[in-house]
């Protein structure tokens, strides 16, 4: 006997304001199988959940409908509450009367009638739910971290410290990422490599961490707990086991003048190189596109000759390595925007117009100018530098509506560094709003203004153009209400932070979603910021959205905690709403098989009694380990023999009928 209880939530006033919750409960009482209906201010709160448990006991309810916020918010909460009260968690349905009713329809009678209809639909569906059990899945207790920047390093260390194996896949020659390119970091001005290199060394030597540098993700198959990842170990032409990192090869390599991408093309590097002196692993790679051996088939070979340990091997090829992982942490970081849509600033036409990262390299001791700030055009010391904030950010018309969060602070830091290194140089900063939302950030900004005399001009820069031997920065000073022109030897654009160019392609490989700007989408901005919508894939750092180093490290540790939490259980709880076959109706046509994205459908030999004789035939069967419950097979099956539990045809038709009444 189905005995359904309906619980309509006020959600404070979020629902009750535009939906007459009493009336909805009243109308629910007349629905078939409904034996109890009530309302409560906060169903998701403890008393609300207790109300459900009590009602189940008092009215012997065996099915529950909660009319509240979106299932994305509290379906899990109410399932647990119902389970605690002894009812199968899948005999509970949520009617979304907040996000999809009370918040979007202000007219109360209209909202009430729609809410009643949505509740009727949920009741009709729950009447046809069947108890489901979630299965157990084996967990591969190995983690994959994509990206070797500070986010990847921190996550890897935390996971490894908890005793689980971690593989870091880093595209460049060395781990370190963006932070390795920085000189000092705000707000403490401590040297970036001083706080980064020790962590890189830890990662380099940690027994539980394997670094696959100069490698990329080729493909990802499988699902949470059982990912099968193919990693492409690009050929470095150097045998890592033998090489000691002595540096003979890259010092003697005749090809000297290749632009060093690590130094933002301001400096040069040889054909066989390490990104920067503190590189981990300290094993160089050969840039096959520019190495004479590969360009003029076999010539040169200087590095091979000078190598004391004979580590050079030109014949090494790319290797595809297949490994199994239980969890993946995406930490692919960011790049600065190319600013091609802003010709008026002249980035790329005037050499002395650079971005923040370029300036970091100029001011960094491992940079091309060993830390002395020189103008890229003629190498002179700049006497006046203009910093332009929100370069590409907060500009809906030209594609990036978001704020890149870290530019105000790092531009203030760079201005301070300039004033420290060249006391007589003058720093100007064009800004819209200074955002110092962090601990000691405002104080740092005040020091830049008062102690270091950085001149802040509130206004946008209209045009940068060369005049005689310097640049003129024309903009507006909105506080004085008049245009202003500043002569500058260098212009530093705080270019917007955007995801890596191939972020979208990588997301599709791993199977996670991303937003309009190609930042990876978190499961819930407030409640689940480090999880993606795909089970077992976690996010850390700027790949999820612009942020500064403290936040990145915090997210990395959070993601690591999520991974460790997953590995700590003896098995994974698998999805309960999976496909299942009604073998009596299945004719073995296997139209369901090609549509399954997870290849979860296999043939199965069964024996059946037909009349007096026993017959053997082949029917379809679902591997509950692989199936993720998408339901494509249920539609491909003409007779409906393939059912998707939780979303069977009966349930969906019941909803459609109730909604159309």
């Amino acid at each position: 006997m189905k005995r359904i209880g309906v619980f309509v939530c006020h959600c404070g006033t979020n629902i009750a304001a535009t939906v007459d919750v009493e009336k909805v409960a009243e109308s629910a009482r007349h629905l078939p199988h409904v034996v109890f209906a009530t309302t409560y201010k906060f169903m998701c709160a403890d008393p609300g959940q207790k109300l459900i448990a009590d009602a189940i006991r008092e009215h012997a309810l065996n099915r529950v409908v909660v009319a509240a916020c979106s299932p994305h918010m509290h379906e899990r909460t109410f399932r647990k509450a119902v389970e605690r009260a002894g009812v199968n968690p899948y005999l509970m349905e949520v009617a979304n009367v907040r996000e999809q009713c009370s918040w979007v329809h202000r007219d109360k009678p209209v909202g009430t009638e729609k809410a009643a209809a949505l509740v009727a639909a949920a009741v009709a569906k729950v009447a046809r739910n069947v108890p489901l059990e979630s299965g157990k899945l084996p967990v591969e207790r190995r983690a994959l971290v994509v990206g070797g920047g500070i986010a990847g390093i921190q996550a890897a260390l935390d996971i490894a410290e908890s005793g689980y194996h971690v593989t870091i896949v880093e595209r460049e020659q060395s781990v370190g990422g963006r932070m390795a390119q920085l000189d000092k970091t705000f707000p403490t001005l401590d040297c970036s490599s001083c706080i980064l290199t020790p962590k890189m060394v830890d990662v380099g030597h940690h027994p539980m961490i394997e670094i696959c540098s100069y490698s990329e993700i080729e493909s990802v198959e499988g699902y949470v707990g059982n990912f099968e990842v193919t990693i492409r170990r690009k050929a470095t032409s150097v045998d890592p086991d033998v090489c000691t990192g002595c540096g003979e090869c890259w010092n003697r390599c005749p090809v000297k003048k290749l632009p060093s991408s690590f130094n933002m093309d301001l400096g040069h590097r040889p054909a066989i190189y390490v990104d920067f002196p503190q590189a981990i692993p300290n094993v160089p790679v050969i840039d096959r596109a520019n190495c004479t051996y590969y360009l003029r088939d076999g010539k040169c070979r200087v590095c091979e000759k000078v190598c004391p340990t004979k580590a050079i091997d030109f014949t090494l090829e790319d290797r595809l390595v297949k490994e199994r992982f239980g969890a993946i942490v995406m930490a692919t970081g960011f790049q600065t925007a190319s600013l091609q849509q802003y010709p008026e600033w002249g980035l790329g036409t005037y050499p002395d117009v650079v971005t923040g990262l370029h300036f970091e390299r100029l001011v960094s001791s491992t940079g091309p100018t060993e830390g002395k700030i020189k103008r890229p055009s003629d190498g002179k010391e700049p006497k006046s530098v203009v910093f332009v904030l929100c370069a590409g950010s907060r500009d809906e018309a030209r594609g990036r509506s978001y704020c890149s969060k870290a530019c105000c602070m790092y531009s203030a830091k760079q201005a301070i560094l300039l004033r420290e290194k060249i006391p007589q140089a003058q720093a100007h900063v064009f800004y819209m709003d200074i955002r110092t939302a962090g601990k000691d950030y405002e104080e740092f900004y005040m020091r830049a203004k008062e102690e270091y005399g950085v001149n802040y001009i509130r206004g946008r820069v209209a045009k940068v153009y060369p005049e005689k031997d310097h640049l003129v920065v024309r903009g507006e000073d909105t506080l004085l209400g008049r245009p202003v022109a500043v002569e500058a030897d260098m212009v530093v654009l705080a270019a917007a932070i955007e995801p890596r160019a191939d972020a979208a392609a990588l997301a599709q490989k791993v199977g996670i979603s991303y937003n309009r700007d190609h930042f990876f989408s978190e499961a819930h901005p407030k409640l689940r910021p480090v999880e993606s919508n795909t089970g077992g894939v976690f996010l850390a750092g700027c790949c999820q959205g612009p942020k500064d180093i403290p936040e990145t490290v915090a997210q990395a540790s959070a993601a690591a905690a999520k991974v460790v939490q997953m590995f700590s259980k003896d098995a994974l709880v698998s999805e309960a709403q999976l496909a299942s076959v009604n073998e009596a109706w299945c004719i073995g046509c296997f139209l369901c098989q090609p549509v399954c994205p997870y290849k979860a459908i296999q043939p199965k030999e069964i024996e059946e009694r037909r009349g007096r004789d026993k017959i053997k035939r082949t029917v379809s069967s679902v591997n509950t380990g692989l199936c993720q419950g998408c339901g494509a097979c249920a539609v491909a099956c003409p007779s409906g023999a393939m059912r998707l539990n939780g979303f069977t045809d009966e349930q969906i038709l019941a909803e459609v009928d109730a909604v159309c009444l």
């Binding site: 802003y342 010709p343 008026e344 002249g346 045009k463 060369p466």
Partner: protein, 289 residues
Amino acid sequence: MKLAYYPGCSLCGTAREYNISTIKVSEKLGIELEEIPDWSCCGATSAHTSSPLLGVALPARNLAIAEEMGLDVAAPCAACYHNLSAARVKMDRDHLLRKRIEEIIDRKYRGKVKVLPLAEVILSRVGLDAVRDSLVHPLAGLKMAAYYGCLMVRPKGIVDFDDPENPTKLDQIMEAAGGEMVDWSHKTECCGASLSLTGTELCVDLVGRILERAAEEGAECIVTACPFCQANLDMRQAEAATKLKTDFRLPVLYFTQLLGIALGLPAGELGLDSHVVDPRPLLREKGLI
């Protein structure tokens, strides 16, 4: 290919030479221009400040006639192009306005007609290859600075001729004509033309700044497609030079004039005689006339 030709008041008045050279160059390049019968003012005057409706109705009337002719409109003058295009866009976005305008101009208007500056006609419908093939005197050795001004490139969405910050289409045409173009930063800087009577001092400063930048980049003359810019840069050049205590002589020509020379049209027919800063000495020096 055939287009409805909208000369506008300037080309029938102070910018007479722009009109002649446009017609001659078009003939040479096979562009058939049929003047819009009974065309009226394009609303470039201060009409739109007194009544925005009038500012749309004036150009709309010309567009409606062109639509009856079934031809897209070629408008060499930057101001005409701006106002015709603005009217078309505003009526596209708000069909109540369109119905209101139809009542005012007492003609049907369905928004089927496009508006093109002459440079766009040459670039997209004739094509630069055709220009290169029909060169007679390539403008070899002549260093030019293309000045776009404001009306042809701003605001985006109302006029979409070229990139508002870094336009290059005039440069492309003149390069195809064999000339050497200077890449300079003040292509779209305001020349103060609208203040030439009410704020002459400021206008001279702005003109001076533009000409100084052009000269500094090594330009020998300025090429433009807007009667406003031509008149202002040409007439104010002397005052600006004295104010800046330098003596640059930069003839300010319409791109159709130089293009005409490059296509072998006789110099006499191109109205080279009606400029304050006489271009002929420079052109003779370069062996072009």
